[in-house]
């Protein structure tokens, strides 16, 4: 599972994100100048390697999806740099955008809103193909292959989305994401809108496709058991920052950041005879991203805060091999 991390540094990563910031203006004054900014994503850096699954976890509103959209250029980043296999990507440049959409695709959370209800399944799957200049005959042939790949009968092509269940629709959306043979698919909570009984089918399909086609996933989720099941590495986000990033088993066994500890202690454990003693509950509520705390984003809620936490923002530092944490007291937790 972790085969990528060792060889990762030899070649440039598939996608490298440096200091990504996405700020939204709010509350404009009379002249149209913003009076305040929501810092949805604030200085996020990470990289995704070929064929690996990186999960972004965190509670709602922490900037997971915004990060995903900014990578694709669906939202314009406020600042930061993106490199695809060492090549810079610029969402404002049309050539770079067309490279981005050939290499990166997205699967949305809501399988009902992801497909135009008035468009046949074949047309929906063929849309990225036609937009990239394929003739309709070529697109139709490719659509049949794509339906095979996601396990839907070819006769689905002429049907409308309302004749399919949520799981079947998500298969259609995955087929559409595969159409341009991308190297990276951003999965924005692809199973959280689905029935529990359907989830494993879709997750297995994603894993199977990854094995066959060597696709990398950026898997955005708040379902920790799903994340543990399919990711190679996990990044934990809080209030627009990555607070901890490590390989999956390392993160689940050596949880260092207080926020991650609180997050993971919320996973219910079913182990007879063992009491769940390490339940860590954060005080207070998530601060408004309009008015984030100075210093460490967790400072208002952290049980271990010190004066230094209120002064400056801790950097993401590698504390153990492949395990980075943004906490001033990370070394203490590592003992």
């Amino acid at each position: 599972m972790n085969a990528h991390s060792d060889s990762a540094h030899a070649s440039p990563p598939l996608l490298e994100v440096r200091h990504l910031k996405v700020h939204f203006p709010v509350n404009r004054n009379l002249m149209g100048r913003p009076r305040a900014w929501v810092k949805a994503v604030d200085d996020v850096s990470f990289s995704i390697h070929k064929g690996e699954t990186l999960s972004l976890v965190g509670e709602s509103g922490c900037g997971k999806s915004t990060t995903g959209y900014a990578l694709l250029g669906m939202l314009l980043p406020t600042s930061g740099e993106l490199f695809f296999e060492g090549q810079p990507l610029d969402a404002r440049d049309s050539q770079s955008r067309s490279l981005a959409r050939r290499q990166m695709q997205i699967v949305f959370q809501d399988p009902f809103a992801s497909l135009n209800p008035k468009m046949s399944v074949g047309e929906s799957i063929g849309e990225p193909l036609r937009a990239s200049g394929l003739s309709s005959q070529e697109a139709a042939l490719r659509v049949e292959k794509l339906l095979d790949m996601v396990g839907l009968p070819r006769s689905c092509r002429d049907r409308l989305p309302n004749q399919f269940s949520g799981g079947q629709r998500q298969r259609i959306v995955i087929a559409r994401a595969l159409a341009l043979q991308p190297r990276l698919i951003i999965c924005d909570e692809p199973v959280s809108a689905l029935d529990v009984s359907i989830r494993s089918q879709i997750l297995n399909l994603l894993l199977e496709l990854q094995r066959e086609l060597d696709i990398a996933y950026l898997f955005i989720s708040h379902d920790l058991s799903v994340v543990r099941h399919l990711s190679d590495r996990v990044a934990v986000m809080y209030l627009g920052h990555i607070v901890e990033l490590a390989e999956t088993e390392e993160l689940f066994t050596h949880t260092l950041h207080p926020y991650t500890q609180a997050l993971f202690s919320a996973i219910p454990r079913i182990e007879p005879g063992r009491k769940n003693t390490r339940r860590l509950i954060l005080q207070g509520d998530l601060p408004s991203p309009l008015n984030p705390p100075r210093g460490c984003p967790l400072v208002t809620r952290c049980p271990h805060r010190q004066p230094v936490c209120e002064q400056s923002m801790p950097e993401l530092q590698e504390i153990r091999p492949g395990h980075s944490v943004a906490c001033f007291r990370a070394d203490e937790w590592n003992r």
């Binding site: 996601v150 009968p153 079947q168």
Partner: protein, 299 residues
Amino acid sequence: MSMPAPLPQEDLRPRPSFGAVLRSAAASVPPYLWIFIAILLGFIAMALFAPLLAPNDPTSQNLLGRMKAPGSVIRGVTYIFGSDELGRDVLSRIIYGARASMSVAVLSVCLSGAIGILAGLLAAYCRGWVESAVMRLVDMMLSIPALLFAVITVAVIGPGFINVILVLGLTRWTRYARVVYGQALGLMPQPYVRYARFVGTRPLAIMCRHLLPNVFGQVVVVATLEFGSMVLFEAGLSFLGLGVQPPTPSWGAMMNVGRHYLDTAWWIAGFPGLCLFLLVLSVNIIGDHLRDRLDPRLR
């Protein structure tokens, strides 16, 4: 590659046949509505097959048989709805008059619909200054009384069939623009529209393939209700002498002439008025029903 096991065919919900869709639509029509659908279809048939249905020539005058009461027989010709001040058959004129009303209404609905849809889609898709320009223009047009504007414009460019359609089309597009704009604006953040923009589908294709099909139900509702107003506008303009010109029969013009004889020959104005009333009433009731059916917020 190894394929995932395909889903068995029966897992897919069966596709309803066209006949089944039609039957279920017909089943949801309340019984009273069939009356109004029948009236509307009757008027449409009247307009389409006027030469076959009209018992007499609508323009042939009979000065000896002027203002005869309904049911009179003059020289072997029965005047079921009576005759007018020039001895023309009122029934035949009503049947031919349906042509003027219907064709002006249909064509001006098409023209105003096309302008309004285009304006609404552009405003919702482009946002920014296009949005401000279009929507402020809509506000401006809505603040001018439409009939007054139409009267002045027709008075300037001259009456006539084409001019009436042009004027109605150019003044009445605002309702479509508002509805289309509002609906399309709501569709823009939908994942499928965002995805289409992401993969580089051209703006025109997004408007025609993603936005328009999903707002079209609302447009049909507006068009139905507008059709009723258009019939009234045409009648109003013709009543004022600014619409279809004589001797072509038109309900509005018939009412205008007939009002001079209301105390002696009520049928000259009465029957065209009744037809106008029935047509607009049925169209509006059908439109209301469509709106209730198609507007998900009212379900």
